[in-house]
Symmetry: C2
Subunit: 159 residues, 2 copies
C-alpha cells in the first residue's frame, strides 16, 4: 500500500447516502414482492421471516445515523407491524428521517471511533457501512425466500 493511496478520497457523504437510499429502494421493492401471508410467516432453514429481517434493518437506519452524528446511541423500537402496509409505513418514515439526519453528521464523526450502541468500537463510517452491508446481506436471503416461493425478485441492479 503506497502512502499515495491513503490520501485518495473516493466517496463523498452525499454519494454514500445516495448509495444507501438506492439499496433501501430495492429492499422496499423486495418487501413488496412478498405475498401478505408470507412476509412474516415464511422462512427457510429455521431462519427469521423476511418481515422480521426488514424490522431489524429499519431499527438500524436512523439510530445509526443519529449515533454517528451525536454520539448518543439509542435503540429504535419499531413495534410489531401487523401487515405489509404497516411495515412499509415504518420503512418510508425512516427514509425521510435518513435524508433529514444524514446531512447533520459533522465531517470529523465519519472517522472518529466511538462505541456504537454501547458495544461496537469502530469509526462512524464503519458503522454506517455495516448497516448498509447488513441490509444487502439480508435482502439476498430474502431473494432466496422469494425464489423458493416461485416469485421473481426485483432486479438487483435497479435502484
Amino acid at each position: 500500500m503506497t502512502s499515495e493511496m491513503t490520501v485518495t478520497n473516493v466517496i463523498t457523504a452525499e454519494v454514500l447516502l445516495e448509495n444507501w437510499q438506492g439499496h433501501r429502494r430495492l429492499t422496499r421493492k423486495t418487501i413488496e414482492a412478498f405475498p401478505e401471508d408470507k412476509l412474516f410467516e415464511f422462512s427457510l432453514g429455521g431462519m427469521r421471516s423476511f418481515g422480521q429481517m426488514a424490522l431489524e434493518i429499519i431499527g438500524m437506519a436512523v439510530p445509526t445515523v443519529e449515533g454517528v452524528a451525536t454520539g448518543k446511541w439509542a435503540s429504535f423500537h419499531a413495534g410489531k407491524p401487523a401487515s405489509k402496509s404497516e411495515l412499509l409505513e415504518l420503512w418510508d418514515a425512516q427514509t425521510v428521517g435518513l435524508n433529514e439526519k444524514f446531512p447533520t453528521i459533522p465531517e470529523e464523526r465519519f472517522q472518529a471511533v466511538d462505541k456504537a450502541f454501547g458495544q461496537w468500537e469502530m469509526s462512524g463510517l464503519a458503522v454506517i457501512q455495516y448497516a448498509i452491508d447488513n441490509e444487502i446481506h439480508h435482502r439476498g436471503e430474502g431473494y432466496v425466500y422469494l425464489r423458493a416461493l416461485g416469485i421473481e425478485p426485483p432486479h438487483f441492479w435497479e435502484r
Copy 2:
C-alpha cells in the same frame, strides 16, 4: 442536500480496498463451509449453486479493477474448477491480484464515467461498489443454502 455535504470526503481508496478484502475473507469462509458435494450441486428455488455464484464473484474482481485502472475491460474466464480446493485456489489468486492492481488506479478514474465491460455506463467507483455489493448479495443467498443444509454460516461481522 447542502453543498457542504458534497465536499465531505469520507472513504479513501485504501479503506475501500480493505473493506472489499474483508468481505472477500468472509466469502472465502462461506465457500469453505459448504460440503464438497454440495458446493456445485445444491441450490434452492431453481437458483445457481453457491460454487457458480462464487465463480461469478471471482470473474468480477480483478477485471473490474483493471478496467477502472486502465479503461480496458476484459472478461475473466475462470474455467471450471472441479473441486472446492480448485475454487479456493482461484479465489486466492484474485486476492493477490486485487492487492497488486488496486493501488494502480489513478485517482481521477474513480470519478470518471466509463462504459464498464462495454455495457455499464457508470463511474469507476460505482463499478467497484457494484462488485462488492453483488458479492454481499450472493453470499447472503449462500447463507440460506447453508442453513437449509443444517450448517451454521460464518459470523457476518467476522472479516
